[in-house]
Each structure stands twice: as C-alpha cells, then as structure tokens.
C-alpha cells in the first residue's frame, strides 16, 4: 500500500509539473496578453510597466524557468486581474469548488448507481424511462443545463438563482451561513451532477447486465437465492469495478464542468477563476489554477484506485503479492 501511494504521489507531482508548465507556456504563446485588460489604447508606458511587472518582457522559457523557481518556494506569482497572490486566490476558490464537487459527486452517486442497478437488472417501462433520461442528461451541455436551472430558479423563486451565499447571511451566525449555503448549493450541484449521474447510471446498468450473465449468478439462483439478493449482494459488488474506475475521471469531469456551471451560477470556485484567467490571459493565475486542477485530478484518480481495490478482492490480492 505504501509503495502504491508513493507511486501515485510521484505521478501527481509529475502531472502537476507538466500540466502547469504546459499551461503557462501555451498561454504565453497564444496571441494577446493580459495587458489587453488595460484597454485597446492604453498608454504604451503603462502597458510596458505592466508587462515588465508580469515578466512578459522576457522570453517564454526564461519566464517559465523563473516561475518554476518561485513555485519551489510555494510562490505562484501575482494575478494581474485580481492584483493578489495566485496562491490566495486558488486556495479560496478550490475550497469553494470542493464543496460544490463533493455535493455533486454524492448526488451523482446517490442517483446514478441505484438507477443503474434498476435499469441494468430489469426490463420494462421503468428501465426505458431511466435510459432515456440518462441519454438526455448526457447530451445536454452543462451550459444549457445551468442556464435552464437558473431560469427555473428565477421563474419559480424556489431557490436562489446564483451565488454561493445571500447578502442576508452576512450578519448571521455560522449556522445561518450554513443554512444559506445549503439553499444555494442545489442549483450548481445539480447542473454538475446530472451528466455524471447519467454516466454512472449507464455504466452501472451495463456492468450489472454483464454481471447477471456470470455463472455464479446462475449458481446462486439454482441455490434458491432470491433475485433481489442476487442483484444487491452478489452481482452489484462485481459490477462496481467499472464505476470505481471512472471515479477519478468523474472528478476531472467535475472540474471541467465547473468552468461553465460556476460561471453561469456565479459560484466563486476554481472553474470560474480559471475561465476568467484564461479569458484575460492572466498567465500566472492560469498556471496556478492548472496546477491545482492537476492535484485534484491526481487525488481523484488515487481515490478511484483505492475504491477499486476495496471493491475487487482480486486487486487487493495482487497488491499483497
């Protein structure tokens, strides 16, 4: 287990290094730079000062080398867009995205897997409806889902149409803030969770159908085990392997989906921060967000692997061997 975790940590460091370096260099090489934020006709002296402050007057490789040296001291540079250290911005945004992502992942798991079990183990109208809804959720881009949910919230006024907290919670206690947060979470969490829940449902259904074809299921049925118990106790555990395998990818999907969802629903998270940084070519902020995204992705993949090992005894045995 120690060796496994060490390997994964090394992989994470390499992933973060490659992703953040590539992002910094690509952003630097793309046409235009962050001084466009000063307006098209800013005074040349002002533009030159801003470029010097951000190291844009140096070559891309030199700038990258200087940045890497600073990153070694946990200094990711300053954001031009926000005029603040990237580390502070990314830390706060990651915490906000983590809240959203955990709720979305839980919701996706809570909806996707049971529905997948139903649609994979039964035939009939229920399974057909579940499959159809899943396909719709998979097909609709998160932008439209977010806009639709914001529209519904704005029309019905059942939930706040955006933001992470309300103004009214400003003067309240901790519990008031938490309750207020809970009313703001469903909208963006649902927009993020729907395509992932649909992915889980489809995978679970397919995997369950395959598991039910296995000889041990036939044997259990021959022993007189009840069909419900065959599905839940025997087949489900075997069918979990592909689900655990995509958990890491699901976390990546949450990150990429959060770009749009956080932007539309005004959730102050990592996705929105990176979206705005990319739009403005805020080079250090883009690289800082990418580094954090890399860490989250690596952590997600490790969690996926651990879940896989927990679900499949054969992998645990391989690990011991």
């Amino acid at each position: 287990m120690t060796a496994f975790v060490a390997r994964r940590l090394l992989f994470a460091v390499a992933l973060v290094f490659v992703v953040s370096s590539a992002t910094l260099l690509l952003t630097r090489l793309a046409p235009g730079d962050v001084t466009a934020e000063l307006g098209p006709f800013a005074a040349p002296a002002e533009v030159a000062a801003a470029r010097a402050r951000l190291g844009l007057d140096r070559g891309p490789v030199e700038q990258w080398a200087l940045w890497i040296a600073r990153v070694g001291r946990f200094d990711f540079g300053d954001s031009f867009l926000y005029n603040r250290p990237v580390r502070d911005l990314v830390g706060r945004a990651t915490a906000n995205t983590a809240i959203l992502a955990v709720v979305a992942l839980l919701a996706a798991t809570a909806f996707g897997i049971p529905l997948g079990i139903v649609s994979g183990s039964r035939r009939g109208t229920a399974a057909t409806v579940i499959r159809a809804v899943s396909l719709v959720c998979l097909s609709v881009p998160p932008l439209l889902t977010s806009l639709l949910l914001v529209f519904l919230a704005a029309t019905t006024r059942w939930l706040p149409a955006g933001g992470m907290t309300s103004v009214d919670a400003l003067d309240g206690r901790w519990s008031t803030w938490l309750a207020d947060l809970a009313t703001h979470l469903p909208l963006p969490a649902l927009a993020l969770a729907l395509p992932i829940a649909a992915t889980f449902e489809r995978l679970q259904a397919q995997s369950m159908a395959e598991a039910l074809q296995q000889p041990f299921v036939t044997a259990a049925a021959a022993r007189g085990v009840a069909p419900r118990e065959i599905v839940l106790r025997h087949a489900w555990r075997v069918s979990l392997r592909p689900i655990c395998g995509v958990y890491g990818i699901a976390i990546g999907t949450l990150l990429s989906g959060s770009f749009v969802v956080e932007f539309v629903t005004a959730w102050p998270g990592l996705g929105r921060l990176m979206y705005e940084a990319l739009r403005a070519r805020d080079i250090y902020l883009v690289a800082g967000c990418a580094a954090m995204g890399g860490w989250v992705l690596a952590a997600g993949m490790m969690v996926g692997d651990l879940l896989l090992a927990a679900a499949d005894p054969r992998l645990r045995e391989q690990g011991r061997g």
């Binding site: 040349p44 911005l89 806009l147 914001v150 403005a280």
Partner: protein, 578 residues
C-alpha cells in the same frame, strides 16, 4: 480548453441571435422613472461583471474600480452625467483667471473623511502628487496634463487650493472630474515608500479604505460581493436638508455571466445591472415591466458607435498592392455609400440605433454636429467612385463578383472583430453583404479581444470592426484619438509626423481647440475637425445604438446617464420604496 470556450461563445451568441429572431419588434420606452417618493433606509443589490483590481482609482482603470470609487470617493468638481455640466463638489466654488491658467478653489468647509479626519487642501496636494509621481504608476497621469505639463498646485491655507495650468485649457476645471481625492493620512506612507501602486488592493482591510463619498466599504468577499454601507459623515444634504445618502447599504454582487445577470434581475435578486441592455434582452424586460417587476428606461443614443477601418500605416502596408486604393478617400467614401444605415440599424441593433456619419454621435449632446458631410446609401455612386480609381468588376467566380484593378489586384479583405459580441457578429455580416453588392469582398475573422488588440497595435490586419470607447465626451479630453501622434488614433497609431495633410490640419485645429477658452470658438473649430474627418473617412461609422436600461420597480430617485455606470453615478440620491 479553447474548443470549450469557443463552444460556449457560439452557444451564447446563438442564443442571443435566436432570441432576437424570435420576436421582431420596434423599440419603445415607457419613459422616465415615476416622480420620486424618497425614503431613508434600505438596501439595493447591483451587479458587477468582474471584481475590482484595486480600490485605488489612481492605479487601476477597470470598470469595477471606477464604480467603487464613484461610491466611496469624492472629487473637487464633478461632471453631472445627466446634464454634462460641471458641478462644485468637494470644492464649493472657484475663481479662474482671465487667461484660464490659474484657478483658485475654495474647499467645502466641515467635510471629513469617513474615519472622522478633516478633509483639507493637503489631501488635494497629496492626490496630485501621487498622480505625477512616477513610482506611483498612476493611470491618470496623461488625463491631468495641460500643455504637456503637470498641473501645479499650492495651498495658501487648509481650505484653499490654487491650481496653475502650463497653458490655457478649453476643458478647464472639467479635468478635475478625473481626479478622486485620496486621504493623505492613509496613503502618504505608501507613496513615500514606493508601494503606492499596491496600496488599497483587495487584501486591504475595509476599515483602512476611507473616503469622502456617500458610502464606505464594509466587506469584500472575493468572487461574491462587495458590501458598502452609508457613510454617516457624508457632506452632501438632500433638498429637505436631510442627510444623504438615502440608502443604508449597497451590495455589489459579482455576476460574470450576462444572461444569468438578467435572469437574476427579473427574479428580483438584483435591483440594478452593470450595463445597459443588449438588443435581444428588450423583449423579456418589457414583459417584466408589464408585470410591474421592472422599470425600463431609455438612456438615449450612446456616445460611442461601432467603427470600421483599414490599417492606414504606410510603413507597414506600402508593399500591399491594395494599399494604394485603401488609402484613397474615394475608396472609403464608396464603402460609406454602399451601406444602407437604416437597414444596418434594423438588422444589427434590431431597430434600436440611429444612423451616424462620424465618431461624434447624437448622444454627445454638447459636441454633435448635425451638418457633418453624409454619404447616403447609393450603390451606383459607390461603383462610380470605385471606377474613378480604375477598379472594375471582374468575371463572376464562385457566385461572387470582385472588383479589381488592371493588374488583377482584387479588393478582397479580411475583417477582424471581437469574438462573442452578438452585434459585432451581425454588424460584420451585414457589412459583408452590403459591400459584396459593389464587388468588395470581406472575410470575417472573430478573435479573442487580446489577440485583436495585439493585431491592432501592430497594424497586422486589413480591416477591423470594433467599438473604440471615447475616454471623454469633451474632444479636448480625447486628444489621443484625434492627434496623429495619439495612442488611440487607431487607423495609424503614434505617427511621428502626420502621414497626410488633412491629419496635420486636424492636429493644428485640435490643439487650438483644446487651448481655446471661448466655447463658441471651440465649437466652431471642432465642427471643422469633424468636417475634415468626414471628408477623409479614416474610420467609417454607420449607426450608434440607442441605450436601454432596466432596474427594479422599487428603486426611486434614478437619474439615468448614457455614460457608465448608468445609475450608480448618482447613488447618494437613490432610494427604495420598501
């Protein structure tokens, strides 16, 4: 990533166009807000699309910083954005010398900063010192230079400031509208230590950010909102001699996405949005107004119009065989004749625009000249002008006719525009169709704004369609656009010597106009500048949008302006019904 962003942009643009096409309408307005029933207390929630880069307007020019500064800081004199008249503000009055170079300002007595420290002439001197100190890296320096020199200031006493300009100035004290007065007692140490550019950034505790404006910053939640509370020491009084501002609190919510912003306005979560409505937003807002939830106001014709121009820098384009035609005014006049401005307004702005013939629109009430030379829509006239340049139709190929010269040089151009702005995309499409009728072929390339600006500054383009925003409604405050050496003289930026005789004439007239004290003379000279501009058409203007704005129905005391922010510029007199 780029693909994802592109897709988002396309979907948003598509949604906008779809909304526009679903309902064909003519714009109308329900008129101004009802007579105010002003009440004290309450709060409003307004939106900002992005966060302030700083709370120090001297070092940051972004829109969010400007809004926060308007709410928290005062100026010596301000331009009323509804009437465009200069009004006494922190200075209660002034006397100017006959030559217009010396201005003696009397500061309003009894004014204090929000922390209780008295406001004095030392604060004014300090603010000007910060503007001109190179270490402070102020973005306002160029806007507060007269005759190429900084404004000199002395303070005979705590309530008097004498400003001396190096040369006579047409705008005179209107320049002071650009200068927020900052507290010496809070920022002097930063200026002395060279850290002024970083002072009052987003990590500064709100209590440190003091001002003489109607509100003070109470809390900043990054990514979410800024909360401003009424400044109990604000100096201005209402007509009934009661304290201002009326509101207890203004919350500025950060809402980056414009569609979501509109939905939140309709849902009652916002009272004000950060900018005027897009043409496609009019219908849903009108519906909400009928239900009594929103008020729709017509701000008037916008002071800025979209421009279409070619790169006219000879040193970059001399080897391009098309340049000898593009640089001829006849060629550009032909384009002007080819565009039906009425149809352009209908298609691009869904009827909410008026034809214009130059950079000064009817929205600029003081300087608009109705008699500027015009080029009515006439394809035959356009073709005749092209024929005078020996440009004639070639054989039709692939369903399009292209005009070309005797050497076969075709008039085919790539037009750059900003990606994701619905009216730019519609505008370039209409332009392409209109010019195709006279044989000029345009290929449209939308770019991200950063890439567009990079190409613009390097003159690495054939033509651009874009809306350059004027920095000031007074032409003397816009010399960077009018002078051939200016950084906003976008068709040929930063010329060492004027590239053409007409540009030299405009340079001379604009410098005279900027230094003239007689308003009639200034107007006469500027009319002449507009005439020369229209005769040479370095940039073509087709329509200026009519601006509409929506706010919640509970808001009172709204004084709308065509300049941004449309309502918050006079936040001290806003109130709510409940």
């Amino acid at each position: 990533m780029q693909t994802r962003l592109t897709r988002i942009g396309l979907i948003l643009a598509g949604a906008g166009v779809l909304a526009a096409l679903v309902v064909v309408f003519r714009f109308g307005s329900s008129g101004p807000s009802p007579a105010p029933e002003l009440r004290r207390g309450g709060q409003i929630v307004a939106s900002l699309r992005s966060e302030p880069r700083s709370f120090n307007r001297l070092v940051s020019r972004d829109y969010a910083t400007e809004v926060v500064t308007l709410l928290t800081q005062g100026r010596l004199a301000r331009i009323n954005r509804a009437t465009f008249e200069l009004e006494p503000w922190l200075a209660e009055g002034w006397e100017s010398s006959a030559d217009g170079r010396t201005h003696t300002l009397r500061l309003r007595p009894g004014v204090t900063w929000s922390d209780g420290t008295p406001f004095t002439s030392a604060d004014v001197l300090f603010s000007l010192q910060a503007v001109y100190d190179p270490k402070a890296q102020s973005v306002l320096t160029s806007t507060l230079v007269v005759g190429g020199q900084p404004i000199k200031a002395i303070a005979p006493d705590a309530q008097t400031v004498v400003l001396t300009y190096a040369a006579p100035s047409g705008p005179g004290l209107r320049l002071l509208d650009n200068l927020p007065i900052l507290p010496k007692h809070k920022l002097e140490a930063a200026l002395m230590s060279g850290s002024f550019a970083a002072a009052w950034n987003s990590t500064t505790p709100p209590a440190e950010i003091v001002g003489t404006g109607p509100f003070v910053l109470r809390e900043y939640q990054p990514g979410q909102r800024l909360v401003l509370e009424r400044n109990p020491r604000y100096w201005r009084r209402a007509a009934d001699d009661g304290a201002l501002p009326y509101l207890d609190r203004i919350v500025l919510e950060i809402v980056p996405e414009q569609n979501a912003e509109l939905l939140r306005l309709q849902a009652g979560e916002l009272d004000l949005t950060s900018s005027e409505l897009r043409p496609e937003d009019y219908v849903p807002v009108r519906e909400a107004e009928k239900q009594g939830r929103l008020r729709l106001i017509e701000l008037g014709v916008g002071p800025d119009a979209d421009a279409f121009w070619f790169c006219l820098k000879p040193e970059v384009k001399a080897k391009d065989p098309r340049f000898k035609y593009v640089q001829r005014p006849e060629f550009r006049k032909a384009i002007s004749h080819a565009v039906d401005r009425e149809a352009f307004a209908e298609t691009v702005f869904l009827g909410a625009a008026v034809p214009v013939w130059g950079p000064i629109t009817p929205g600029n009430l003081q300087w608009f000249w109705a008699d500027v030379p015009r080029y009515p829509h006439n394809d035959q006239e356009a073709q005749s002008l092209l024929a005078t340049l020996n440009l004639h139709d070639r054989d039709e190929r692939d369903g399009e006719t292209v005009v070309a010269d005797l050497d076969g040089v075709e008039m085919r151009f790539t037009v750059l525009t900003q990606r994701g702005i619905s009216w730019y995309e519609r505008g370039t499409a209409v332009l392409r169709d209109e010019l195709a009728k006279i044989g000029i072929v345009l290929d449209i390339v939308p770019l991200e704004v950063g890439a567009l600006i990079q190409r613009l500054l390097a003159c690495d383009y054939d033509a651009i369609y874009f809306r350059p925003m004027a920095t000031d409604l007074d032409p003397a405050g816009n010399l960077d656009f009018w002078l051939s050496s200016g950084s906003a003289h976008f068709w040929n930026i930063g010329q060492k010597t004027p590239a053409a005789d007409w540009e030299r004439r405009i340079d001379t007239l604009m410098l005279e106009q900027a230094a003239a004290l007689d308003p009639a003379r200034r107007r006469q000279e500027f009319n002449l500048v507009q005439q020369i501009f229209a005769e040479n058409l370095p940039a073509l203007y087709f329509t200026a949008p009519r601006l509409y704005y929506a706010h919640s129905a509970r808001l009172r005391g709204v004084v709308p302006s065509v300049q941004r922010p449309p309502v918050l510029w006079s936040a001290d007199t806003l109130s709510v019904t409940n």
